[in-house]
């Protein structure tokens, strides 16, 4: 396994260096870096041209320029990066530091969301093959495949952001809207759940009634301006999550897994109730990460202590429960701060930038600010990936469901839930591991466009302005960051592949 990882890593690093050579040569030959000066009427023109030639090293042969860049960039390995200077004299290091964070945040969140949504949709469509739900999702996938990201981005800016900001002032639904939303959700849910006509009818009816009631309640208390889960709803949600996890992994009869998950859930609830007041005062990313680590630690302990012979499964299920409970806690904290955020930013969904400029406030306000800036670019970036993940998962799941061992499992009398979760799901996820790597590269390409549409000062912007000015330093910095991220993603995908399918590592 270690040898396998080392080999893959070695190849990836070699490719990274080779790719940098290729990109460098292409970029410096892609146009005339002095174009804007040649066309200017500045009396000082000759002087400025000479200065720029001096600054960018245009009088050196290409291999010396590349070597200069490579030696500077390779110092990153010892923590002393020197990525050169941009054409206007700014240090690229400083530019990258701010840009990389916002772009990677965007791309990582978009790809995680796309994987979760896409895989879930793919599995449901495969199980309900040739149903109305399947056709609907397939049609949507085709639509998303064919949408240009920049066009979608502009539409989202106009319709989602501006319309939402107008709506949130009163946050009132009309009856038609409530009924419409409830009807759509009911139709979608009954199509996804399947079953005979009676069951579908019950599902749709329950969903319709529930959504109407909830929306009516939200409307009455203007929940969308003062939202919160509150402790009681949090407790109920965590219990719900725990039940769901148990059903999805082992079922209730395995009391070891059941006890481990239940213990994790109880600790999560007590922990959150105890720390909520403290966390509302303020927090930091470090503190939250620490709490997440503690939560996972508790889960591992619960799994190991109570797991018995199904220790592995108990630990796995407990970790999932604790992570989901932590996310729920995070959501509750964010929602509780939403009304204050609204009073500070009356039009909450922005269309430009990755953060409100010069905005100083508490940690939670800043987090909400960053998240509201993320929403639209993430959606724009995500939809296309969701489409491809849905299609790939569906194909792969169908392939697995037609295998002999699935028939064997069914004929043994194992419940359909177990057949799907334990026998089919894992095997159908194997081919996806390779797609993740390709898709990540695609998302970074997409981020260049999305950042342009939404005016982010991210890596994509660095790349675009650098390339427009035939300035290799920012373009190479973009390459270095995204390329390294892609290598890491690829590495993780390879390791996941090797774990899921041990034959690969040999």
């Amino acid at each position: 396994m270690l040898k396998f990882i080392a080999k893959r890593l070695g190849i990836s690093l070699a490719i990274l260096v080779l790719g940098s050579l290729l990109l460098y040569v292409l970029v410096i030959n892609s146009g005339d870096p002095l174009e804007d000066l040649r066309e200017s009427n500045d009396p000082n023109r000759e002087n400025r041209i000479r200065q720029r030639i001096e600054n960018m090293g245009l009088n050196q042969p290409w291999y010396e320029r590349y070597w200069d860049w490579l030696t500077g960039a390779s110092k990153c390995l010892v923590g002393q990066c020197d990525l050169g200077t941009a054409v206007n004299g700014q240090s690229v290091n400083a530019l990258v530091a701010t840009a990389a964070a916002s772009t990677l945040r965007l791309v990582v969140i978009a790809s995680l969301a796309a994987i979760v949504i896409g895989v879930a949709l793919g599995i449901i469509t495969a199980i309900r093959q040739y149903s109305g739900f399947d056709y609907g999702v397939t049609l949507m996938a085709f639509m998303f495949f064919s949408l240009p990201v920049f066009w979608l981005g502009v539409l989202l800016k106009h319709y989602a952001a501006i319309e939402f900001n107008n709506w949130i002032v009163d946050a009132e639904f009309s009856w038609a809207v409530i009924l419409g939303i409830a009807a759509v959700l009911a139709i979608v849910l009954q199509a996804a759940m399947g079953g005979d006509l009676k069951r579908r009818g019950i599902t749709a009816g329950a969903m319709f009634g529930g959504v109407v009631a909830i929306l009516f309640y939200f409307d009455m208390v203007t929940w969308f301006r003062h939202p919160a889960l509150g402790i009681p709803v949090y407790i109920l949600s965590v219990i719900g999550v725990a039940v769901l996890v148990i059903v999805m992994t082992s079922g209730f009869h395995n009391h070891r897994v059941r006890n481990a998950v239940a213990a994790t859930a109880v600790v999560a609830i007590i922990g959150y109730v105890a720390t909520r007041g403290f966390l509302m005062q303020g927090g930091s990313i470090l503190l939250l990460l620490l709490l997440l680590v503690v939560a996972i630690g508790v889960a591992v302990a619960a799994g190991q202590l109570l797991g018995g012979f199904s220790r592995r499964q108990a630990t796995f299920a407990s970790i999932i429960t604790s992570v989901l409970a932590s996310l729920l806690a995070m959501a509750d904290l964010l929602l509780s701060n939403w009304s204050q955020y609204l009073s500070e930013q009356p039009r909450p969904i922005p269309t430009i930038g990755s953060a409100t400029p010069n905005y100083e406030s508490t940690f939670w306000m800043m987090t909400i600010d960053a998240l509201t800036h993320l929403v639209l670019p993430t959606v724009a970036l995500m939809l296309i990936s969701v489409a491809s993940y849905t299609r790939y998962t569906r194909a792969s799941m169908l392939d697995v469901l037609n295998q002999d061992y699935i028939r064997t499992a069914r004929s043994k009398g194992i419940s359909e839930r177990k057949v799907i979760t334990r026998h089919a799901l894992r095997n159908s996820l194997i081919p996806l591991a390779t797609i993740v790597a390709f898709d990540f590269a695609g998302l970074i390409g997409g981020a260049v466009i999305t950042e342009t549409v939404f005016g982010w000062q991210g890596m994509g912007n660095l790349f675009r302005t650098g390339l427009a000015a035939v300035d290799p330093a920012p373009v190479m910095a973009f390459y270095l960051v995204t390329g390294t991220a892609a290598v890491i993603m690829n590495m993780l995908a390879d390791i996941a592949y090797a774990i899921l399918d041990p034959r690969i590592a040999r």
Binding site: L26, Q129, S146, P148, V149
Partner: protein
């Protein structure tokens, strides 16, 4: 994807299957027998989504190329994309009405300075289509050649293909395309851009062809051909590639639809088609702030991009179903 819902059609499909199975039994049937190619064509022509899409694609292509003419050949639409016309409606709104149908003076409206937007959109569609089909053809040829060589001879060409694939994981296609597109902008012409795009889009197809060839080269008919002394290239061209045709054709269509999106994205970023020439992406880029004041300037090119990409994807889906014999058994 939309055809199997209809029970009548399912019956037809099973009949078709039955015909295949009953072919060797010559005494019991007078049915016509079909070659593999004919079967694929029949299945494709029965795919309703694909046929509708094909009709729309042909319509859009004819509209784009006949209306404003292509190169020196004049078209039937009297206006061009360069001249300024007096503004007819308020703010140059579209004169197109669907009921009763009439085109009016400027069916897609006018730009802020009075250019005829129909002519501009048609020129953009022409360019996008020309680039997409050139990229599709060129990338298919490159990808098939490299994929077949890598799969059949293994060795050096396979290592090359795999490393280039790794490279494309690290440098996103769009990024490389942008750099090459900026270069092509200096050379000029949309076909330079198309050539550059083809250089970055062949890898996916090459990998698929390689996989297909890897399994086909172990089959008996290849062994037989080799045993009688057929040259490797003849084996590849006459025996292996016809069997991989399904994969190649389906992915060629998908290449075309992704080429349209990449080209429009590059033009939007400013590294693709440059003014005074235009493309659908460039039109959107120039008019993205007009969405609230002059929405038609934003909507028309977008509708054409989505339309073309969507129908090409549907055609690809129809072809995939047509080439896949297992598709009918479910």
């Amino acid at each position: 994807m939309t055809n199997t819902n209809d029970p009548a059609e399912l019956d037809e499909v099973h009949e078709a299957d039955y015909e295949i199975e009953s072919m060797p039994d010559e005494t019991s049937t007078t049915d016509k027998s079909y070659s593999q190619g004919q079967l694929v064509l029949r299945r494709f022509f029965r795919h309703r989504g694909a046929m509708v899409s094909l009709t729309i694609l042909v319509f859009i292509t004819l509209l784009a190329f006949t209306s404003i003419g292509f190169g020196p050949i004049p078209g039937w639409w009297g206006k061009n994309h360069i001249d300024l016309y007096p503004i007819v409606e308020v703010a140059g709104a579209p004169t197109l009405t669907l009921w009763p149908f009439s085109l009016g003076e400027h069916p897609f409206g006018q730009t802020t300075i009075g250019k005829d937007y129909f002519a501009l959109v048609m020129l953009g569609t022409q360019n996008s289509l020309a680039i997409a089909f050139t990229v599709g053809l060129a990338a298919t040829l490159i990808g098939t050649f490299i994929g077949a060589t890598a799969g059949y001879f293994r060795g050096l060409s396979e290592a090359f293909l795999m490393r280039v694939t790794d490279l494309f994981i690290i440098i996103p296609t769009l990024v490389l395309a942008a750099v090459l597109g900026r270069m092509a902008g200096n050379v000029g012409g949309i076909f330079a851009l198309a050539g550059m795009l083809a250089l970055v889009s062949w890898t996916g197809l090459a990998r698929l062809v390689r996989g297909e060839v890897l399994s086909l080269r172990e089959r008996e008919f290849v062994a037989a051909a080799r045993a009688v002394g057929t040259s490797p290239w003849r084996i590849i061209v006459r025996h292996i590639l016809p069997n991989a045709l399904g994969t190649i054709i389906v992915n060629a269509t998908l290449l075309i639809s992704s080429a349209i999106l990449v080209e429009t994205a590059l033009s939007y970023l400013g590294f693709g088609v440059r003014p005074p020439n235009t493309s659908l992406g460039l039109l959107i880029s120039e008019n993205q702030n007009a969405l609230s004041t002059r929405p038609w300037l934003f909507w028309w090119p977008g509708v054409f991009i989505v339309g073309i990409a969507l129908v090409v994807n549907f055609i690809g889906d129809g072809l995939r179903d047509a080439f896949d014999p297992r598709q009918q058994m479910d």
